[in-house]
Symmetry: C2
Subunit: 157 residues, 2 copies
Amino acid sequence: MIRLSKLSDYAIVVLTTMARDPANHCGGATFPCGLLAQKSGVPEPTVAKLMKLLAKGGVVTSQRGMSGGYGLARGASDISVADIIAAVEGPISLTECVGGHDDTGCQVERLCAVRGNWDRINTALVGALSSVSLAEMAEPFIPAAYRDGVPRIKEIA
Amino acid sequence: MIRLSKLSDYAIVVLTTMARDPANHCGGATFPCGLLAQKSGVPEPTVAKLMKLLAKGGVVTSQRGMSGGYGLARGASDISVADIIAAVEGPISLTECVGGHDDTGCQVERLCAVRGNWDRINTALVGALSSVSLAEMAEPFIPAAYRDGVPRIKEIA
DNA sequence: AGGATAGAGGACTAATTCTGTCCTGTATAT
DNA sequence: ATATACAGGACAGAATTAGTCCTCTATCCT
């Protein structure tokens, strides 16, 4: 299974929480870690770790001092899932030997003529992750049965 | 970094070796583990482990006994990278809570309204991995400078 | 038939990576 | 001045992965 680290998963959850919060409807709202932990259900130390990474990655802005906190660096539609993952986990790549890491001492290197071809897959992957924005992730999840105008139970009765 | 396990990486390398081998030009050739290890540069015990998984996943066929070995189950163009990864690592999904795992005891579940939205990303990811075939991975890697008909050094002189 | 080859299946150890937590230092608003 | 809140790094425990090995079964060749 291709795994996303839990940290990235949490990042999406926390950022989604921020994007959804009414206080952020005008944009620019800041939330301290404790509040984010409370609203999202993610443990506070973990939230703190996360936000530091996200701030460094330019996904959120930070404000120190009293009544400080973190806020989205730009609109939720302008933040892609790829941005978030890159901030938390570093550059997105499936294998180690993509992008000029000639010093990894890969024993198969001499015989491995596959290397360059991974680029295609990485490109496809990054494209897929870039095509989904935080705003889309923040949309309420609607079970398939209720999509496309299928009437609710109440309306059936 | 979204990481592919090393095993999957090796799988691509080994399968690529098989697809490229002249003996397989007519298709249906079988290679014992030892030979595959030798040709690919991947340690033999690892190759053995790999091939078992790939056989179980239907990517390769196995033939026991003397002069037996493994062969591609179908043409290299009909084997996608997604097939290979699925065989080695199990179902492709970025997060644990996709696909009805209601018993994982996810503490955030109640507050996590993101779950269903991961499907979009998973779909995009699987699409990306399905769109690249083993045959494409087996193509010799040509540095960008020499693509698109740029003459080789020899031809320049 | 008998021996040699080669895969099937599973168990196990070591290493790596990830997770989650804590501590100290610095900036800011009241 | 002081309390709040982020910045940065260090660290121990847990979980996963990697890699190896052993035994059993099937098939081919002599």
